[in-house]
Symmetry: C5
Subunit: 305 residues, 5 copies
């Protein structure tokens, strides 16, 4: 596999990593229809854990089958497939070598009230399943945030020593954060920055709103940071992610109609995002509709739409 | 031992497991009168820990003796015998090689108020006692659920690396769950799904009622998921268990009269359950009655009743 | 040392244990005047930790000296001497090979309010001091019971792997238990059963009263379990201890007058107890009186009184 | 590199350390424009974690780029650059060998309420990134202070065994401390002393005020300890740091105007401080202004201003 | 070094210890002017941690320097010098081989409210600094007492395996203890006894008052235990310490005038104490006064005053 200049450039940002980790990042960046472009679209399926099987898969029953998602990610020409232990165990052998895998190593569920997650898989699991990366969620602001940071610190160190890449889902919530604050532009930029400081190779945050949580407000005003459009806000998040030296992908959020999704993707692209991680909006639609949607998303990142 | 096509098919679902673990699953699936059929009936004796010796064994005093249960499971032609450390230590040598053993590695007792269990045995114990699997209970919804999930994650990883299978008892309770919610169809399906996501090879849940806990209710209505009969509900639980790619067995619950038990077993079979795990309804009856009941249960799973 | 048939029989109950552990059980069972009979009397000296030195030893000042207790156990022809780390360190070399030692590895003290104990010694300590067993107290029912069970699980596994035996003091208290419930027959039988399930080789409980804690009451009535005499209750406790497949010894409790003690011992013997573990009633008397009392106790177990 | 007499003298204070640790201390002490003088100025960039990216870097946007800070520290002729994991990972290879690095291994963030920090990097991380030291913050007085001390104890032992130096940020706060007490002279001297007792090679505290927290007040009065000027207070802090046998540097605190900074630096120098650790006052200014300020600071420590 | 009969006798009490530990006990017992007599005087300097540098050292400023204390202990002909990590690191090389060192491995500070201590050094630290023993404080009665006991259990096991001796500071406080109870004779005897049970070689307690905390009161009255004079109370504490089979030293407490100190030392001697551990009363005086005081103390233990 011959790397493109763009991918070589991106790999150069990860200057302290071992060749094994760079090779796994390269696998993700060279995979699928966006391979080589420096852009990426990832299919994440952790909704079953988070919201239960019926809320996740009943809208499109074939998605109850773990193989469905592997095949969808392969057929849509995506960059990687991210899921939890059982889901990957049930298909990793059948689809070995077909698409890079990201093992989500901690998980929450909606029966629990705590703003925390359980560690549900290990770096060793990622290695035996042939994954390219581990994925970990932190909840900055929650009472358990420091404990979660210490968990990912330990797992990230182990992953890097084993040549794996590290993806951090950085979702502020809990503690003294307001509900609006969870997706506020200042908080989202802070969340992305902390993921970078914790040593993440790929950062996942939610598209931020123009709301600003109090503490940082006067800085945003004084420094005239543009938060007026989604594209401007994305630009700010990328800046907060080591001035673009880290890959940042944005989640799609709750299922919504197609036009809204595509408009959002365009703004992400215009703001310089590295890509998207889209779950419910794909696997909850019939397969053909999902493939069509992903085709349009990819075209946007290719600059063709 | 020549495997049947059905057992080979089932083993193929566990595509990421090592040969040792597959061999242990095969031992359970090929054992006893249901051997080779893909169905299984397991004898579990953890009632002594959960409810004390008198409430468990006084109705049938020979059952105070650990050897009684090994012999019952062997004579009834069951698939496996599951119990806690002391019970297996007291008979594992005498009955070595006669029936696959499942070591229940955590236990609750009725003197304690916490919705938690103590880890009371290890993977190493399972190995030295010649067991085929470890068994572990999680209480989704309880305040300790994340801690329990982290315990089974660690023990399951160790068990799989040692060639053992992993059985998860997934019993929702505590936290914000209502009493009815503990056996609600949506919660039971969610509980089975989480056990699968945690990497269980065999999942044990309770037969669900038609009750639906609030959050998922509108999905069940909108998607017209059939929960009207026990068989329909079992079908839904199997779907939630990786669309049937995981073995799911259902508990018998509190002791009741024979006709009720057999009707329930028929519904389990009709819904596609892999089998039953029946404790109090067998060892609390005189041995001959228990053997007769188990004979009828097995015949139902054989399609002969 | 040639084992008696009775001791061979008892060892056969511990069928999953390694030869090292069986040899240590045999050492205890073959020691002293009851050696070979399957009965045993153990001297425990953990009162200094539990109640302080003055309350323990001032009634008989020579007992302040750790050597005193070793010598007493040897001279009385007892089966074993059980004590805490410092006490054994202070005499293990002088009395090496003279009497089997049980290292009590956790301890409470009366300055503390918590219904818990501190782990105060290790399996490694037991090995370096030449002990035959470790001893551990659990408090079923207390808020810390699960944590205590997890501690003994871990230490018992290590002890068994090193060829040591495991003695569990199972003393219900705390949580929702009433004061009377702590020695209720149903709770005591449950406590003994749990110790057996946790893998104890020797179980120590208190002689139970006829009181029945609520939950199990209807079972005792329905099954007509005889709890009318101490002997009948002991029989029930032995039944709850794997139908007699585990060694169970009973504590002597608070210091009392001689006739009362001997009557209780007779009831223990008649109920099938394996023996007694008597501390305060011996070391708080002048040495000659203690030797005389122990002589009478032994004669009762020998069937001579 | 030939060491100066002054540096040799300083190294002699660390008489129990291995040659590896002394070599790393020497690297810091011999680096930059103050190299060899026994004085040092360190650039710390952990503000992104503590206050978020916008509050830290928006005043001088080039500072969003991790490389910016390495280059600033090199170009200003500083003694070392201290930052958190992600920041060092992003530049350690490009700037390898150009300036000694201090890996800050724990971090707080302003979304959290707890007076604690998360461990966010390891000694192993420091080694693989080619660092000369680890940095760790303790909050004496906070509810988590003992836990933080136990963390640095463990990490310091590991660091010293690997030939790294240990820098402790000792910032009293929380518990029963008043707000004024956090920078009180008695509390600051105590904080520096505890860092020394914990085995720190380099201690970082804030410049103390003349306020005295109650408990020690009568001692200060009776012993007539001079706390009237900043220089006198610095002298007292140095005395509390093993009578000058430990390197102590003082933080610059919140951004302020140039004259105020330089006056403070002069007082630090006059009091015998080993140097300064200046973050926000440098990287939040345009690069040329920052270089000019640092030039003046260095001249003060050189005795030229 | 030829041991005296008295020292050989004392070593014989530690019959379970390895030669390495006995050699370190011998080093302490043979050191200084009391060498060989079975008596010892130790200089402890942990006041800086406990009360801060100014309250500890401002009364005698040369004591800010760690070397001061080593030299004082050597020049006074003491038996050992006990201090915390940083203090020993700063002088262990200069004074190597001149006086036995005891590394205090846990420490409290007066900014903290919790009745606990942080572990601030390790057995490995003690070994690399050439120490003869570790020192550890427990607070019997406090909410954290069991946790502290578990810490010293683990560290003592490691220390003994490495040939070090173990010194336990046993200071009752917290929980349900009254303020007077902290130094009550029954509580002090209990504290010394627990230190012995935990495996301490040398026990440090405070000189007890005649006050008796309630629970044990009737035993003291019934058994007519003499607590009327300090000498009688010391005798009782020695009895509680394995009837004199353990070395017990008594602290000097708060700084006071000379006559009072010497009277107390005489009572300690008359009661059979092994010696004293005197900190503030020595290093807070001018060096010449301290040497004079220590000379008188030593003469008392020599029976010359």
């Amino acid at each position: 596999m011959k790397l493109t200049q763009r991918v070589k450039k991106i790999l150069s940002w990860y200057e302290s990593d071992c060749p094994g980790t760079k090779a796994n990042l390269a696998r993700i960046l060279m995979q699928g229809r966006l391979g080589g472009s420096g852009k990426l679209v990832i299919l994440p399926v952790d909704q079953g854990f988070e919201h239960g099987p019926a809320r996740s898969f009943a809208p499109n029953p074939p998605a109850y089958d773990p193989h469905y998602h592997f095949q969808l990610a392969v057929d849509a020409g995506l960059s990687a497939y991210a899921s939890v232990l059982g889901m990957l165990e049930a298909g990793a052998d059948t689809f070995a070598g077909q698409i890079p895998l990201i093992l989500k190593v901690n998980s929450a569920n909606s029966l629990q009230g705590a703003k925390d997650q359980a560690v549900t898989a290990s770096v060793q699991d990622a290695l035996r399943l042939g994954c390219s990366a581990i994925g970990f969620t932190i909840y900055p602001g929650s009472d358990d945030a420091y404990a979660m940071m210490e968990e990912i610190r330990e797992m990230a160190e182990e992953a890097k020593a084993c040549g794996l890449a590290v993806v951090v889902w950085s979702y502020p919530r809990g503690g003294k954060l307001s509900k609006d604050g969870e997706t506020a532009i200042d908080v989202t930029a802070y969340a992305a920055h902390m993921a970078a400081l914790l040593g993440a190779h790929i950062i996942k945050v939610k598209p931020p709103t123009a709301f600003i949580e109090h503490e940082a407000k006067k800085v945003y005003e004084k420094q005239k940071i543009d938060v007026g459009t989604l594209a401007a806000r994305i630009l700010h998040v990328m800046q907060a992610s080591f001035n673009g030296r880290r890959i940042v992908v944005f989640s799609g959020g709750a299922a919504k109609e197609t036009a809204g999704i595509l408009d959002e993707i365009r703004a992400l692209r215009d703001g310089g995002a590295n890509g998207s991680i889209i779950g419910r909006n794909t696997f909850q639609r019939p397969r053909e509709e999902a493939l069509k949607l992903l085709d349009e998303v990819i075209k946007i990142y290719q600059g063709k739409a």
